[in-house]
Symmetry: C2
Subunit: 356 residues, 2 copies
């Protein structure tokens, strides 16, 4: 399997990405290939001298870099030779089986969606993120790819995420909850209510009905479905709150009269806690529903995150989740009322020159 | 001032409500009146024998109770003599200056909105909740009253919440953030983008632009504006996550080898932490934009929550926030593109018989 990685993506790039990629070489199989995409003059001096790993490491030159906070669409237009653009093109041209980036999320989603296109029968891809909650992993989809969500999109997220949770985490019959503002049938906006109707029609989905924000951490579901705006708020709120809460508890401890005793003990407790609930373990968020394998990693990714992302991508690909999704949806009688609009950026699509 | 309270609202009702009301009698002024609304035969035996408080305590009979999980609109229709219905009617008839309930939130919002009507120039009320964050109080509006939000509603929430934060917490020029999925202008759905345009047109609002989920806990804003679906998810997610996180940390501690030392110390730390970040201090969430004063308390309200709710209501009323909101919006040149639909439940409105 060939896995291409954006060497310049993430706050700790290129060092963390390169060392994560090198670590993965030993875990992959013979015949596998890791492709680092970025400026050759930056990447090559950082590669280890000894190159006798099981898997092969190659470099594809991409001279430009899209910054973490650059405007996505605009940057993709202006930098067709950025690492993210080249990554997407490699996939489109069949020169890689999977792409990974810890760079600008918006640019990744736009580039991957536009170049790689959707899987058959999928109307709109969604980003699936795994929350390592206190009650086990919960897959949340979508967390930001689709903020003009239609009921059919939410139904397809339920299908795709169920297959994902089953194949990746071995959850046999994943419980699917639909994010709303109350448990009763009548609760929610129009899109949620219609989506509820669609999901209920499919007896193969283990649908538990509406869930509320608090339920994500209560172990009531394995999969939580929501439109991208809500999912993105959930993702970032959770991150900010955990960070803020731990900081606030620490502040209480450093002013405690027994801080010299409680401080180091608490540090040990938090270390164990974070080890159990560590998003780095999952590598990144999968863009479900595109015709290929694309993993979007956290901007704060460390080398082990990248290594885990590579291994997750390998697993995802070898299990053949995309085929399972396409087969399922092709056989499903639940179809869209109206088509989703196409991603409108045709300007990006026509400029598909050959990757150098 | 007359303040009517739903004696049957909340998980700890009627005991917590009655004792909270009695506690408040000593803090209120002469001439003030607290009206407990609920079944007389339940309330009266629980009242203290000695009744020589500064403020007066009276009881208005309401034989029915709407359960915490009952379907809101349906229950209001079937139980016109429930404590929540009678509460709303008392306000409509001018027999109370404020209403408070820790009962079924959906039923409260529906009843208060429909009976009390909107303030002049307000298109749609919003629920404002105060998050006691690690960086100070952040007012979030709306957290569930309006899930079919228009740009003008978000603009008005920005205005109302700014006035609220200034008058109630003394924040002179509250920083207002608009919840979105990225900081750039172009980020967000259509409603958010249009709302952004409207808020920017008003130079009196201290608008800091888009915020993301994580920003709520980072001290970047005093007011966070969002549509009701998103706000409701934020509110419940925060509650569930804090609860889950504290529970998970506790679990780490009870299995720690020094648990006998670290356990009691951590308990002390958490006690201080929760004292600083205690939503009970704020009493409840205000329904901003209705013609009256209505506070909706948490279902887990304790007697001190109710006492604080009564005092918050008193402050809100005495500061005259409603007048300030009406004046501001009347003078504002920013108006709606199209009217909001009226709350459609006319069936509820025509049955406005006299309160017994």
């Amino acid at each position: 399997m060939r896995i291409a990685i954006d060497a310049m993506g993430g706050d700790k790039a290129p060092d963390a990405v390169i060392s994560g990629a090198v670590e993965a070489l030993e875990l992959l199989e013979e015949g596998d290939e890791v492709i680092l995409v970025g400026p050759k003059e930056v990447i090559e001096p950082k590669l280890p001298a000894q190159r006798s790993h099981r898997a092969v490491l190659t470099v594809v030159h991409a001279p430009d870099v899209i910054g973490m906070d650059d405007p996505p669409i605009d940057s993709l237009r202006k930098k067709p030779r950025s690492s993210i653009s080249i990554l997407a093109k490699l996939s489109k041209l069949g020169r890689t089986d999977a792409v990974i980036s810890a760079g600008n999320t918006g640019a990744c989603v736009a580039a991957f969606q536009m170049r790689m296109r959707n899987l058959q029968s999928v109307n709109r891809p969604g980003i699936a993120v795994v929350f390592p909650t206190f009650e086990g992993p919960v897959t949340i989809c979508d967390v930001g790819a689709n903020i003009a969500c239609k009921p059919i999109n939410l139904y397809q997220y339920a299908v795709m995420s169920s297959i994902y949770a089953r194949e990746l985490f071995g959850i046999q019959n994943p419980r699917v909850g639909l994010m709303s503002i109350g448990e009763e049938d009548a609760k929610g906006n129009e899109v949620v209510k219609k989506a509820r109707g669609l999901i209920k029609q499919d007896p193969k989905i283990n649908f538990i009905g509406n869930i509320e924000g608090r339920d994500i951490f209560k172990g009531v579901c394995d999969v939580a479905i929501c439109e991208g705006f809500v999912g993105n708020v959930i993702l970032k709120l959770t991150e900010g709150l955990v960070e803020g809460l731990v900081k606030a508890i620490k502040q209480e401890i450093v002013t405690h009269k027994f801080r010299l005793i409680i401080g180091p003990m608490f540090k040990g407790v938090m270390k164990r806690f974070f080890k159990k609930h560590d998003y780095h373990e999952y590598g990144g968020a999968l863009l479900l529903g595109i015709n290929g394998t694309a993993l979007i990693c956290h901007g704060a990714s460390e080398s082990r995150t990248i290594r885990n992302a590579i291994m997750a991508t390998k697993k995802y690909h070898s299990v053949g989740i995309n085929n399972k999704i396409a087969e399922y949806l092709l056989a499903s009688s639940i179809v869209d009322e109206g088509q989703n609009a196409e991603p409108e950026d045709t300007a990006l699509r026509v400029k598909d020159e050959q990757v150098d």
